[in-house]
């Protein structure tokens, strides 16, 4: 039987043993339902990577301070649930976050020391540039980060005016660390990196830890 078919049946069983190369959770940004998460799902499936898109609905007002933290609590809970669902199958979980999704992933890691996301992709990131990745790495929660930036993206700079704990790392990058790969794109603005082709060429090799021409 096909691998996908085997995995589908195995996941229905309480003690089934599905067979994946890896696992990913993705978190969308504000002002959207994150259609990109649905677009990358079949690509991840091609590579036998289990994907849980974390969806917290279309949010605008609840993102803005003083409500930010309350929404973050909800999203962090969903991130931890997705992590546990992958962990239950013995799969190490990578994360892909966009915009408010990056703040949610960063907050989830800070609030939940048992959350372990070895490889994290951020694009359109609104985390502060000095986000304490090193501390999270020292706690064994993170081992490598790929931060994709664009100077033309105005949202990360504006986000800190309205959103508690936000910063412009989606434009200016994070404080340099050997385990953080920063890649600048010229024309991608805030959201244009989330394509199937980019997922195939850049995100999947990063998640699997293989060279880019190998996936």
């Amino acid at each position: 039987m096909r691998l996908d078919e085997y995995n589908r049946i195995a996941e229905e069983l309480p003690d089934g043993l599905p067979d994946y190369r890896g696992a990913v959770l993705s978190v969308h940004g504000m002002n959207t339902w994150g259609p990109w998460q649905k677009h990358i799902s079949p690509v991840l499936q091609d590579y036998s990577i289990r994907h849980i898109p974390v969806d917290y609905g279309y949010q605008i007002l609840r993102v803005i301070r003083p409500l930010t933290n309350r929404l973050l609590q909800l999203v962090v809970e969903k991130i931890v649930d997705a992590f546990k669902a992958h962990q239950h199958l013995g799969l190490p979980t990578a994360a892909i976050g966009h915009s408010f999704g990056t703040l949610s992933i960063g907050t989830a890691l800070q609030w939940t020391p048992e959350l372990v996301l070895p490889r994290i992709v951020t694009f359109g990131s609104i985390l502060p540039c000095e986000f304490p990745w090193r501390r999270l790495m020292e706690r064994g929660q993170v081992s490598r980060v790929l931060n994709e930036t664009c100077q033309r993206d105005g949202w990360p700079r504006r986000a800190r005016l309205w959103i508690s704990g936000a910063g412009p790392s989606g434009c200016d990058g994070f404080t340099r660390e050997p385990f953080i790969d920063q890649e600048e794109y010229e024309w991608t603005d805030h959201s244009r990196l989330a394509t199937e082709m980019h997922c195939r060429r850049v995100w999947i090799p990063f998640i699997l830890g293989v060279p880019r021409n190998c996936a």
């Binding site: 039987m1 078919e5 195995a10 190369r21 036998s48």
Partner: protein
């Protein structure tokens, strides 16, 4: 004599006793002839003329019950046969030079077939259980 793993299936699926009986007979026969044989759901379905959906389901349940062990076969997308096989898809490289067609193939889950081998405990039980 019935095999323990299939007795477990019978207790979980009392409505599918006839399918389980055929599956048990075919698995038993196959492994008595060759303990290293690979169990393929397509062949079981053709030999036993039984419901393919149930056969797949039961084989995966037998893996969960540790009677069978899954084996992943990366098939050449050019249709030339098996490129590589492994216990776990993580063992496959992301790209492989196919020993069948000589071309390089990128890993795609659609090219992977799962088949089954008997666990040591199932083989032991078959060896010690009288036939018939």
């Amino acid at each position: 004599m019935s095999l323990t793993a299939f007795d477990n299936l019978r207790s979980i699926h009392p409505d599918a006793l006839s399918v389980i009986a055929v599956l048990e007979r075919l698995v038993n026969q196959t492994l008595r002839r060759d303990p290293h044989a690979v169990i393929d759901d397509d062949i079981i379905v053709q030999q036993g003329r039984i419901d393919p959906v149930l056969v797949k389901r039961f084989l995966v349940e037998l893996v969960a019950g540790h009677a069978l062990v899954r084996r992943a076969f990366w098939l050449c997308p050019e249709g030339e046969g098996t490129t590589s096989e492994a216990n776990n898809v993580k063992e496959f490289p992301p790209i492989i030079e196919c020993p069948r067609c000589g071309r390089e193939h990128f890993f795609k889950s659609k090219d992977v077939e799962v088949k089954f081998l008997p666990s040591e405990s199932l083989l032991q039980e078959i060896r010690t259980t009288p036939e018939g």
